[in-house]
């Protein structure tokens, strides 16, 4: 089985798994009393944010490895992860305001978490524009690796921004030092959604990486 078809299988499994998460989240997970149905956006928003931060974190790791070893495969992985991260960032930035409007009374507010997240989205876009603007592969890989490392540095700031700054955004529910503050039925739905989004990340990146390989052999 080629890498491309392996990626397709993982993606298809991830999509089916996400469909099952939809069913569980909508019909078999209790409605939160204070927020009503809008709270169910949580089961998509938090995993999308996880995949986005994972994507940029791995862009940074692959960029460091590229600069150390000059292995073209790390650059190709970073490019794949950045593109996939942009897709997940779109989900995060779409679901976030849809949850904020009924709960905070506003679609958007310029607080630390939201502003840093938007900045991360612009970094994803900038990373891809930079790659598109440089024709020479070595220079392209080196310049984009530096930008990728800057993106990775932003990741812990985004995660910790709710502790470092005064913000409307809630603090982490699961990824925190103490036990998750969520009833078991909601926690299970959330963890299944994290798994579905992670599968999709792996499937997308595998496909995109294989595609990058095919293009570089032609170029």
């Amino acid at each position: 089985m080629t890498l491309q078809s392996r990626g397709r299988w993982i993606t298809a499994s991830g999509l089916l798994f996400l469909a099952a998460v939809y069913v569980r989240a909508i019909w078999f997970t209790p409605v939160e009393r204070l927020q009503g149905g809008a709270q169910k956006i949580f089961y998509l928003h938090a995993p999308a944010a996880w995949s986005t931060l994972l994507a940029m974190g791995l862009v940074g790791v692959a960029s460091i490895l590229y600069l150390l070893m000059k292995d073209e495969r790390f650059d190709r992985f970073a490019a794949a992860s950045a593109e996939v991260g942009t897709a997940f960032a779109c989900v995060m930035l779409t679901t976030g305001p849809l949850w904020a409007k009924p709960i905070w009374g506003t679609w958007w507010t310029w607080d630390a978490r939201l502003t840093l997240t938007l900045f991360l989205f612009f970094l994803f876009i900038g990373y891809q524009l930079l790659r598109g603007a440089i024709a020479e592969p070595g220079t392209r890989a080196r310049f984009s690796a530096v930008l990728g490392i800057f993106g990775m540095v932003l990741v812990p700031f985004i995660h910790l921004s709710v502790y470092l700054f005064r913000t409307l955004h809630p603090q982490p529910i699961v990824l925190k030092p103490s036990a998750p503050s969520l009833p078991d039925s909601m926690l299970l739905t959330l963890l299944l959604s994290f798994l579905a989004f992670t599968m999709l990340y792996v499937g997308f990146v595998t496909q995109r990486y294989a595609l990058g390989g095919a293009q570089s052999h032609v170029g």
């Binding site: 993606t11 009503g36 169910k40 956006i41 999308a48 897709a87 779109c90 009924p102 997308f204």
Partner: protein
Amino acid sequence: MWADGTPPTGGYAIAAYLLTAIILLTYSFLLFRRGSKAP
């Protein structure tokens, strides 16, 4: 408020679930098509 006291905010959830599905399915389709056209 609904009769059980929860606020009627389900419309926002429906919009979020639909848009998420559209974004992820579109990206899946684009990757699939690019992969099929690749040499």
